[in-house]
Structures are given as structure tokens and as C-alpha cells.
Symmetry: C2
Subunit: 243 residues, 2 copies
């Protein structure tokens, strides 16, 4: 089975011109099939502010009302995605920018309203990478925006980490997939700010218990461990190997 | 050779919910390979106004400075394109939204500064539909936004009529292509507002001389006649057959 590298780049990298240029140079140098999944939350918040649309967050998660759905569709699907594609083309990478609605790649259900109404936010129902793998076979390099659809004509905002994990798992049927989450830090850091070189399900439990990892890093590691159990060969969070 | 239908839908259709729904229903009903190219100028102007970015036009053509390039990238590549894709997916069409930078579909040169500096506007240099035709073969339906790139990392705004004609010509190597320009009118109208059922290069000369066709319709018919000479099987401007 051929190897495939899927890199998910967080907003803080994508939105910092120097960090983004370094990422794209690294990415362009990867041999063989590869996929880039990107965020873009800060740009979305900046556009919303400029348009006078209030940004609502609950525990770090964006509430996507219809005005905010338009904003993320423009920023993730348009501004960020197409600029990444143009930059990669300039580096000789035959990039193709896609959202989850394209090729019916990622079909979602709108998240049911519970204690919080997240609005137009999708939970993944079904991933179909058959045409994506065909494009990969022909040397095309998918660049995927964190947007999807409900199959009934409505776009949905989807967490980019989740999209990365789901696409990586689905591509596991075609390739030996290595998934890497790149973000503004070196990797998973302990409470002293030192890199934790590797984490497995046992050490994750003790790191959580001691409070050494907390906040948004907990679901990230949880998702990484889950992806490993579902056909992804290896996962890195920055330089931290999750196994 | 298999037939392929390429429809270019102008902004006035795309941006009117009823007209757009009717167009997409028609489009979904077309059997066999098909492509949709869309505009979106009014939405771009509306977003620019909301963001306080002045809209500059010279003889009906948009001046695309860097702020306006961001606007059209968001509106054409994101908002309009991804919503069309989601709507088509809901109609059972396996749409894939692309801009000219994707798959290096349409490579452009930035228009040289002459009497007018149009800014980030592209003139088509090279069209490569090899991967597009592969997607078409597999039943995918491209939805193309009027944006492209210069191969050096810069996106460019490109006239949607031009993109439609160029892609139609390039697909002529693979399919018997029928190109149709849909817009807010029934077709090419004479000075009394009656539909002209067909126009050839001879009648075009007399229609221009008499002033029966004028303004933006002149380059549209000119482009249509050119496309016919370059591998496109038939062209319709609305219900007017150009031959």
C-alpha cells in the first residue's frame, strides 16, 4: 500500500504569512500523494467584525447562524482555500481546492439543538473519497476547507480537525495514511512547556489526570487515538507522536 | 464523440433565488456530461459596499484592486460556488466547485496596464482540461467560478463569459460541446425587443451596422462566433442560436 500524508494546518499557521509560506514549502516537498486540510477561524472572525456580524463562541466553539455561515463559506471556501491553491500551484503542486459538498466528499447532519444551538454546524455522517483517490492517483493534491453540506442544499460549518481525521480514515482504505496536525506550538506540551515526544492511550489517561494536558488539547488527542483505531497508520500532533 | 453541455449562467440568474432554482432544475435534468460556469458580480458589489470597499467600473468592467480581489475570491470562489454545489448535490448532481487555479485548469496572465489599469484581472493563457475530463467521465459535474491564477501564486479575476468559451473550446477535444449563455433576457433581442432566433457572421455584421445589437451583446456574439470556429459544436445566447 502506498503512503499518503495528510496535514491539517490550523488557522494560526495559515493566517501568518511567514508560517504559512514555511508550511507550504514543507508540504510541497512531500513526495507522493498528500492532502492539506485547513482552518481559518481568525480570518472568519475578522471578516465578521468588518461586516458588523457578532462573533458568538461557546467554550471555544463558534456559533454559526445564517450570517456567520455566509462568512465562513466566503472565508474558508473562497479566500483561504483558493489562495492556498494558487500558492501551491506556484510551488509546482497541482492543488485542487474542495469543500465537503464537492464530489459529495463529506455528508453531514446538522447538529441537533441541545443545551447549545450551534446553528449551521455539521456532524459527519458519511465520507466518500472514491473520486478524491482518483484525483490523488493522477497527481492532484486536494486542499480541503472545513465546510460541508447536509445533502438537502444547506452548507454546514465543520470542525477542521474532525474533517482531517475523517478523511484520513476514509483514505485508509486506499493508502497507508499518516495524519499530522500542525498548529502554532511545537507539539503537545507539558505544564512546564516542554514537548511530550509521544503519547499512547495509557499515558493520555495519566496526563489528563495530572492536568498536564487540558483544554482543547484533550479532544485533539482523543480524536487522534480514535483515528489510529480506524485505519490511520500514524498520527502526529505537531512533533508529538500519538500511538 | 459524446455530447457535453456547458451552461454559463449570469449573475442576474444566479442571484435571483427563483431564477436560480429554475436554472438548477433545468441543469440537473440534462443527461450526460455537463459543466456550469457562473458569474456573481452583483453579490460581489453588495459585499464590497458592506465592507466599505468602493466599486470601480470602466465601461461595464470591474476594476479589481487587491481589496476587490479578496471580495471576488470570497464571493465567486466561496459563497456563490459552494452554494451552487450544495444545491446541485441536493438535486442528485455530483457537483464539484472549481476555480481556474484548481487543477491548474485556467492559467492566466495579468492584463497589462494600458489606458486603464484593470488591476488583478486575467487574460487566459492556457487551459488544461485533462483532469476535468477525467472527473466528467466519472460522472462528476464541474461548477466553475470566474477566478484564475497567474502560476506565480496570485489569483486573478476573469470574465465568466470568457471562461465559459475557453473551457468549452478545450473540452472540444474530448466531447461534442454545446455552449449556452443563460442570462436575464430570452436571448438576443432586436431594437423592438423581439427575439432574434439565429445569428451568423453575416447577419451579425448587418445587426451591428443597423444598431439592432449593441453594448455588451456585441462582444458576447463575437466570442460565440469565435468559439464555433474553435471546436465548439453549437452556441446559444439564451434562445438565439449562433452559427
Amino acid at each position: 500500500m502506498e503512503s499518503l500524508k495528510l496535514i491539517k494546518a490550523g488557522g494560526a499557521i495559515i493566517e501568518d504569512p511567514e508560517a504559512c509560506a514555511a508550511l507550504l514549502k514543507d508540504f510541497a516537498a512531500i513526495q507522493g500523494p498528500k492532502v492539506l486540510v485547513h482552518g481559518g477561524g481568525r480570518s472568519a472572525s475578522a471578516l465578521a467584525a468588518r461586516m458588523g456580524i457578532p462573533v458568538k463562541m461557546v467554550e471555544g466553539r463558534r456559533i454559526t447562524d445564517s450570517a456567520m455561515l455566509e462568512v465562513v463559506t466566503m472565508v474558508y471556501g473562497g479566500l483561504v482555500n483558493k489562495n492556498l491553491v494558487a500558492s501551491l500551484q506556484a510551488l509546482g503542486v497541482n492543488a485542487v481546492g474542495l469543500a465537503g459538498a464537492d464530489l459529495n466528499l463529506i455528508l453531514c447532519d446538522r447538529r441537533p439543538v441541545g443545551e447549545v444551538d450551534y446553528g449551521y454546524v455539521g456532524d459527519v455522517r458519511k465520507v466518500d473519497v472514491s473520486l478524491l483517490s482518483l484525483l490523488l492517483d493522477k497527481g492532484a493534491v486536494p486542499v480541503i476547507a472545513p465546510l460541508s453540506h447536509d445533502g438537502k442544499g444547506c452548507l454546514l460549518n465543520v470542525n477542521a480537525d474532525t474533517i482531517a481525521a475523517e478523511v484520513a480514515q476514509a483514505l485508509g482504505a486506499y493508502y497507508r495514511v499518516s495524519l499530522e496536525y500542525r498548529f502554532e506550538k511545537e507539539g503537545v506540551l507539558d505544564s512546564n512547556g516542554n514537548l511530550i515526544p509521544e503519547i499512547d492511550s495509557d499515558s493520555f489517561i495519566s496526563l489528563k489526570a495530572s492536568g498536564a494536558v487540558s483544554g482543547g488539547m484533550v479532544p485533539k488527542i482523543h480524536n487522534a487515538l480514535e483515528a489510529l483505531g480506524r485505519g490511520v497508520g500514524e498520527v502526529y500532533i505537531g512533533k508529538t507522536l500519538i500511538h
